[in-house]
């Protein structure tokens, strides 16, 4: 990875009250790169993404985007710098229609390739359902809305928290098949997954979190299954 990485997390600690969830976590994401963060339940994967997105307080210098320290920014300012999060469990706005969910994603008006028209090209089914209440969609379609809503902010970096959670394998495959279209726009991805196979196929670089600590990193080709399993299960 040459030059300044797009995202650099350095020695990040995170707390829920007295409970420490992350211990000195470091991570780098290059321009246009797809990075997977693996780990068991409760390893701190979601906490890491929430910290990067600004939903959890962090020291200013612990998170840098394009060399700018953004750790202390609020979530509402972080998205303006070009980081969007697809939250775990999709969390669409139930009072908003499908299209309203997308429009609110783009409400800051950051310039970029992602417009309603472009989203409907990527996920045509959403155009058919545009006026429906967001919660009336199937789980897979809701996940498409959640990803699209994040894309509408025209991010440089898209954080995806367990986008396969609770979806049928065929739907997961379908959603993962659209990721290259997204990265083709130069967007970098951080994918947090429990579905190791999906993540290893999509990612160029892999990190493993275990009980709040980064225990392993490498490329999918150099890391053995055994090493990942060991890191995943802590055995």
């Amino acid at each position: 990875m040459a030059g300044t990485p797009l995202l650099e997390v350095h020695g990040l600690d995170a707390f829920y009250g007295d409970f420490q969830a992350l211990f000195g976590v470091s991570l780098r994401v290059g321009q246009g790169q797809v990075v997977a963060v693996l780990g068991a339940n409760g390893a701190g994967k979601s906490t890491l993404l929430k910290s990067i997105a600004g939903l959890m307080a962090s020291p200013r210098e612990a998170i840098c985007l394009d060399g700018e320290a953004i750790g202390s920014l609020r979530a509402s300012d972080v998205v303006g710098r070009g980081i969007a999060l697809v939250p775990e469990g999709r969390r669409l706005f139930p009072s908003l229609s499908v299209e309203e969910n997308l429009l609110i994603g783009g409400q800051l008006g950051r310039p970029g390739p992602w417009t309603l028209a472009r989203i409907y090209e990527l996920f045509p089914v959403l155009e058919e359902r545009r006026s429906q209440p967001s919660m009336s969609l199937s789980g897979g379609q809701q996940q498409m809305v959640a990803i699209s809503r994040a894309l509408m902010s025209n991010p440089k970096l898209l954080l995806c928290d367990e986008i396969s959670l609770g979806l049928a394998p065929i739907i997961i495959k379908d959603i993962y098949a659209r990721l290259p279209t997204i990265t083709a726009e130069g967007i970098s991805l951080v994918i947090v997954e429990q579905d190791i196979v999906q993540a290893l196929t999509a990612a160029q670089h892999v990190y493993c979190l275990q009980e709040g600590r980064m225990v392993l990193e490498g490329t999918p080709t150099t890391l053995t299954r055994e090493a990942i399993s060991a890191a995943y299960f802590g055995v």
Binding site: A53, R74, P94, S95, E100, Q107, R149
Partner: protein
């Protein structure tokens, strides 16, 4: 026996008064809907708006209706400042701090007004429009002022409905109400969104306050009773439904008018009884928001 036409008249007057109650209620409902804040000072803010209008008419020689041009933006600014300066700090998982703080605010506003304007009853003079009326039928005429008040209430609720469901601001209100964390991920600063919601609420309060001041005598202590009327209208209509709030206001107004006709002492009691009956039969109100 009261003749039939007189009953029609009583119910009509009550319904028109209900428009005022709906305006009390709309601001309250909006704030609860967007940020789950029960604003105990709501009634006192209505009275504050009435006094501001009194100041504006005295100082600049404006009529009560033209004073809206000054008082509405002023109350909106007060609302935004209050929200950013104080109320945002009280919001959290616990519902008690905002209750306590707005209760304290209520006491401060009442005593501040008492200090500045004394306990004397005041009234806004609207001139000839106060006594003007439209003749509808024999024994039935409608006052122009109550009619104007009712039409304004409908307009206010229509505008709020429009803002909520047809504008980017309303989208932001609904999204923040649904999920504050995810709304922030969309770049919405909830402190600012809540400030705007309170500004809108107090703009409605300003309109309600001026109509109250023209319609009846007011003094610094009448706020809490207006809060109760507003609450009752919201609960009768169903939380989260703007048009339901109008219906709630009308039911409350009609109940009070009928009560007053039966016995002058029963006006308020009749309103509270109607409220309790509806609460017992339909605890969610008549038009609850469906999701």
């Amino acid at each position: 026996m009261v003749p039939l036409m007189e009953w029609v008249n009583i119910i009509l007057q009550g319904a028109l008064l209900g428009g005022l109650y709906a305006m009390f209620a709309a601001g309250l409902s909006l704030i609860f809907g967007v940020m789950r804040l029960v604003n105990i000072a709501h009634g006192d803010l209505i009275v504050l708006a009435a006094y501001l209008s009194l100041l504006a008419t005295d100082a600049f020689g404006l009529g009560p209706m033209t004073s809206l041009l000054v008082v509405v933006p002023l109350m909106a600014v007060i609302g935004y400042t209050l929200q950013r300066g104080i109320l945002n700090q009280t919001l959290g998982p616990d519902l008690l701090p905002p209750l306590l703080v707005t209760f304290g605010l209520s006491i401060i506003i009442q005593n501040g007004l008492l200090e500045l304007f004394t306990a004397d009853s005041r009234r806004l003079q609207a001139g000839a429009v106060e006594v003007a009326s439209l003749h509808v039928a024999d024994g039935l005429s409608i006052g122009v002022l109550p009619l104007l008040q009712f039409v304004t209430a409908i307009a206010v609720i229509a505008v709020l409905q429009l803002v909520f469901y047809r504008t980017a601001l309303g989208r932001a209100f609904r999204a923040t109400s649904d999920d504050q964390d995810v709304a922030q991920l969309m770049g919405l600063d909830n402190r600012h969104v809540f400030g705007l919601a309170m500004a809108l609420s107090l703009a409605v309060v300003a309109i309600a306050g001026i109509f109250l001041a023209v319609r009846t005598n007011f003094d610094p202590a009448i706020g809490p009773a207006r809060l109760i009327f507003g609450f009752e209208a919201v609960i009768i209509g169903g939380l989260g439904s703007m048009w339901g709030t109008l219906a709630g206001g009308i039911i409350l107004g009609v109940a009070q008018a009928i009560g007053a006709q039966l016995d002058p002492g029963w006006q308020l009691l009749a309103g509270h009884i109607a409220f309790l009956i509806i609460l017992a039969i339909k605890p969610d109100g008549l038009f609850p928001k469906v999701q």
